[in-house]
């Protein structure tokens, strides 16, 4: 797997004076520290602070009791489990649904392609709330409301556009000749898909899969309206504490960490797998 940095052509790395390189490093990492690490640290301090009023720059007293209370909630584990199962199913289903369509988008010239492209992009454009409320009514009619199935179905609406675009970008890069070669060597449609297209689509599938997983794991709006409170995912469980009109900083900070942790872990792993060029090809071309 190409590590992100290596996707840039080697020749691009210009030679720098030693001082310059240090300066650039120092500047960039300082910026990173101030804009990302510091807020995270402060948020963590809030989650363990036992009171933090001015003029204290850091809290004077600390407590773990809030963390312990929160973690002791059996509902949390259940919700995490729900979220994981839903995210896994959503990820695989999204990939499965996206592949044929991405293939068509990548390989078939047709007249209404632009229109289909816009339609596939549309779920990104239309506010999730509108989709969710609309789909809520439809699901009620279909008897899918407040079920895990319903939540999975509605989440796929959100993950599908990105996956299709990423897979289209990936599949566009597979030369026709490879497929013809495989066929002339005796591979049928199944053989070609299994041995040529899928293996070559792996970078795209990994990138799309990770984004779908995170997207599903963190999705709130649509899952909430379609599933809550019968189906509780981690965000549904935790967002009640993040009610903007009554949120308490210490509790909210804990919640933020619980919500962020899996995503951050996945993202750090993803950093090794996500190909920038693919991401950009998937999202960066309209």
């Amino acid at each position: 797997m190409a590590v992100v940095a290596e996707t840039l052509p080697k020749a691009r790395a210009r030679v720098f004076h030693e001082d310059d390189r240090l300066l650039v490093s120092a500047g960039l990492y300082a910026a990173l520290g101030l804009t990302i690490a510091l807020p995270l640290v402060l948020m963590f301090l809030w989650s363990v602070a036992d009171g933090w009023a001015p003029p204290n720059v850091i809290p004077r007293d600390y407590t773990l009791s809030r963390w312990l209370d929160m973690i002791a909630d059996p509902g949390l584990l259940r919700a995490a489990l729900n979220s994981t199962v839903i995210a896994v199913v959503v990820t695989f289903a999204t990939a499965l649904i996206a592949l044929p369509t991405a293939w068509a988008m990548a390989r078939f010239p047709f007249r209404l392609k632009r229109l289909v492209e816009i339609f596939i992009l549309a779920p990104v454009i239309i506010p999730g709330l509108v989709v969710a409320v609309g789909i809520g009514q439809v699901f009620l009619f279909l008897g899918l409301s407040y079920s895990i199935t319903g939540v999975i179905l509605v989440q796929i609406v959100g993950t599908l556009p990105l996956m299709i675009r990423l897979m289209t970008a990936t599949l566009e890069t597979i030369p026709d000749d490879l497929i013809h070669a495989a066929r002339s060597l005796g591979a049928g449609t199944v053989g070609v898909v299994l041995h040529i297209i899928l293996p070559l689509a792996v970078p795209g599938l990994l990138a799309g899969g990770l984004l779908s997983f995170i997207g599903s794991f963190e999705e709130f709006d649509k899952s909430f309206i379609v599933g809550a409170p019968v189906v509780e995912t981690l965000p549904i469980k935790l967002y009640t504490f993040l009610d903007p009109y009554s949120l308490q900083l210490p509790i909210a900070s804990i919640i933020a960490f619980i919500l962020l942790l899996p995503a951050l872990i996945v993202f750090v792993i993803a950093g090794r797998i996500l190909r920038d060029d693919l991401m950009a090809a998937g999202m960066g071309k309209l």
Partner: protein
């Protein structure tokens, strides 16, 4: 049957079916039902009152303006940061690989948590204020302020990685030879950048602009928490209407917001269609 499967048109239809069919069913359907819902009274009769409310109520009109403002302003600020950042991270500096992974973290942070961070950091009497208080300085108002600076900051924080990623790739996609050619023809490094690299990277950059614009125009958690209580963007007002159970109003507002985004998208297509650079793909 066998012959039918070999017909390219039928193949195309079959291949498109899963993805497009899924979206038609679970996205198009609800959208149409939302559209119909936005044109109906409780008793089922036709009405335009929900749209009328959007375009006659001062709160809503200002909300629409605010939505557009919250969509546009962060994009400009993000660009100002992302382009230099994209240029910097293609240099060979110490710890570049690590940085490349780390700077993308904000992409995984939900908006509401970003808002929380802004409150903790930049609220008056918050962390920064406390740090600088001993020097007799105090923070300007960044939260709930008239110009939505807190909202812009938070949105930008979340947008920069995405934008940088796309812009980096857009620059990386330019063949080295083209740059060398420009330099050999006498262009300075700056001129090469301005007249060769930027135009070539433009399709990627504009796409990033468009997507971040659409994303931040529709976001509500950030403006809800750190934005001014008045005016509030349409997305926040929409959430309020949802709380009141006025679904028809929610639908109407959603339609107006979406329509605006779609118009911008189509305008984008119309404008870029003539440039031709990014038409290489898709229409062959």
């Amino acid at each position: 049957m066998q012959a039918a499967l070999h017909d390219r048109k039928i193949q195309l239809a079959l291949l498109l079916l899963p993805g497009v069919g899924y979206l038609v069913l679970f996205f198009g359907g609800p959208l149409v039902s939302a559209l119909i819902g936005s044109l109906r009274l409780d008793d089922g009769s036709f009405t335009l009152q929900w749209y009328e409310r959007i375009f006659t109520r001062a709160t809503m009109l200002r909300g629409l303006q605010t939505s557009i403002y919250y969509g546009v302003a962060p994009v400009f600020v993000s660009l100002l940061v992302s382009i230099p950042l994209a240029l910097l991270i293609r240099q060979n500096f110490w710890g570049r690989k690590l940085f490349n992974g780390l700077y993308k973290l904000p992409m995984a942070v939900p908006g509401i948590i970003v808002a929380l961070m802004v409150i903790i950091m930049a609220e008056r009497g918050g962390f920064i204020d406390r740090v600088i208080a001993p020097f007799g300085v105090s923070m300007p108002k960044l939260v709930r302020d008239e110009w939505g600076i807190g909202v812009i900051l938070a949105t930008v924080w979340k947008q920069i990685p995405f934008m940088t990623l796309i812009i980096t790739s857009a620059f990386a996609g330019i063949p080295e030879d083209i740059r060398h050619a420009a330099r050999s023809l006498g262009a300075s490094r700056l001129n090469t950048f301005a007249f060769v690299e930027v135009p070539l990277a433009m399709p990627g950059i504009t796409a990033a602009i468009l997507l971040t614009f659409i994303g931040s125009m529709g976001s509500y958690a950030i403006p809800d928490i750190v934005g001014s209580p008045s005016p509030r963007p349409l997305s926040v007002l929409m959430l309020f209407e949802f709380g009141e159970g006025r679904f028809a109003q929610v639908y109407a507002m959603g339609m107006v917001l979406s329509l605006f985004a779609v118009v911008v998208l189509l305008a984008y297509y119309a404008l870029t269609a003539n440039i031709g650079v990014n038409r290489a793909k898709g229409d062959e």
